[in-house]
Symmetry: C2
Subunit: 326 residues, 2 copies
């Protein structure tokens, strides 16, 4: 019997989940649920599109709903709402608001007897797991997180909002010297500027003042002002040809000592991803399996990746996992 999955929201992440579900033989995609008119949405795999109004009735035959909305406004409302009806999972990544979001989802999921797993993906998600494993094994060490090289959609959007900008792509790039110092176990103290640089490709509108655009980017608070930022103006054609993908990745590097402090150990978890949304969708899909299983054995309430025993992610039996992966 397959695990019946629904997807709520059909942007890049929703498409990533759709394709990931197709790679898992024990899962079946029931529908994509959209706030748009279903007739206007065409899915990659041909799965049907259903209005969220139908979903809201709470009668859909799905084991887990994977919610693919934005953290700013969608998820704080959607995840608790649907946790009151279905097992749900989201990729909420506004760190400061995680405790409140967890509380809201926990209350809703307990009321329905369902599981609501929040903040899943790679950061938060797989990176979080590696911070926790490392700190638990080597207490008192130092964790460093580097992102990139990869496209930051938030930073790309921020550039697009500048007057005279037609299109933009921003890459976050880790500083190689900082990475090497951390990998060597030197425990450097690093400022924001010393960890990452920002590389921007901008298509300007005809006749726009490029010097002004560049200045506006480089001085933008929070997004760019604290970083060494490079701005390259390119043509629309170059943008399409060289920057249409959404690669990303990064490393969690943890350095800690044992014994009398003279023995140092470095743990690195590194991701190099051709497609951020397809990988994130794959993580959500594996955790959807765990959500279903936890609920099947009678659990309910909010969860994070920290609460999920790794074996629950695999379609294989305990015997098979022990024989082939241990």
């Amino acid at each position: 019997m397959s695990i019946k999955v629904g997807i709520l929201g059909y942007g890049n992440l929703g498409k990533g989940v759709e394709q990931a579900v197709a790679h898992n033989a024990d899962m079946e995609l029931v529908a994509v649920y959209s706030r748009r008119d279903p007739a206007t949405v065409k899915t990659v795999t041909g799965v049907k599109v259903v209005s969220t109004e139908v979903l809201d009735a709470g009668k859909e035959d799905i084991d887990v709903l994977i919610i693919c909305g934005g953290s700013a406004t969608d998820l704080p409302e959607m995840t608790p709402k649907y946790a009151a009806l279905y097992n749900v999972i989201d990729s909420f990544d506004t760190h400061a608001n995680i405790p409140v979001h967890f509380g809201n989802v926990d209350a809703a999921a307990k009321s329905s007897g369902k599981i609501g797993l929040i903040s899943c993906g790679w950061d938060p998600g797989m990176f979080s797991l590696n911070r926790l494993y490392a700190e638990s094994v080597l207490p008192g060490g130092t964790a460093y997180t580097f992102w990139g090289k990869g496209v930051s959609q938030g930073h790309s959007d921020a550039i697009r909002r500048i007057d005279g900008v037609k299109d933009a792509r921003q890459y976050t790039v880790p500083v190689e010297a900082a990475l090497e110092a951390v990998r060597a176990g030197k425990n450097p103290e690093l400022t924001t500027r010393e960890k990452h640089t920002r590389l921007c490709y901008v298509v300007a509108e005809d006749g726009a003042d490029k010097a002004r655009i560049e200045e506006e980017i480089k001085t933008m608070p929070n997004y760019f002002a604290d970083y060494d930022t490079t701005v390259n103006f390119i043509t629309e054609e170059e943008m399409k040809q060289n920057h249409s993908g959404l690669p990303h990745g990064g490393s969690v590097i943890y350095s800690g000592t044992t014994g009398d402090g003279s023995k140092n150990h470095v743990i690195e978890y590194k991701l190099t991803l051709d497609s951020n949304p397809e990988f994130t969708g794959s993580v959500l899909t594996a955790y959807a399996r765990a959500v279903y299983r936890m609920n099947e054995r009678g659990e309910n309430g909010a969860r994070t990746v920290f609460d999920v025993a790794p074996a629950l992610l695999s379609p294989l039996s305990g015997e098979d996992i022990r024989a082939h992966m241990l």
Copy 2:
């Protein structure tokens, strides 16, 4: 209230655990249990040494017994025996015999209502986790495990058994070209010889035939015959000065695709360890906390790292973990 830990067996690994427990404020080391005469054993931290006969009575006030014996003969007997009396954890690493060992420990631990966690450390252990996480997220990809650069005690011992050898140290070294091809997502097919080389430092006895020793090493079946092996003869002094540590490490690198197969993703988990036994001891200690907690909430039977929710490894509360590590 502290978690009360006992250590059974006091070699390098036992000392690693002893020092790791001292780094965890919520744990207390009750005793080292030894088959040797306790009066002849001096511990690093000064903790008392008690005869295993006392342990065998089953009345020791310990929450978890960390068994630091060898996989060949000690653990297959010890772990089931003590799982019938205490919560236990071991680092059993004879892959082919894991199913049998798991079964034996499961039966014993169920009879006593205790938990027996087997095959913990870094490989098996942290490396196993990373194989499972990666395969679950990107089903159908390829996992590569590289070891080193690091000292293999089994291979060092094998050289020491050769006639005319006074001392020996063997380093397992991953082949850089193979590592780079895997990291680049090229999915190479690699023979044993293409993945690792073996680097040996040997102190020969006075007048020993070095050419014969070198030949015996290089042609030794299983251990060396399938590898490119380099043998260096050194003095006792050089051995002591340059090769007295037990560094190790390695990488699990997993490569898999999403979507239509055109998007590749590479996941690498890499360890660089100054001391293999101190790091392994630290992993065992973190999992001892989880073993205690699982038993406290009423679970019993055999477990592996796959069955342990990551949050159980940390002394921090769920709230703290979510606020600081997610």
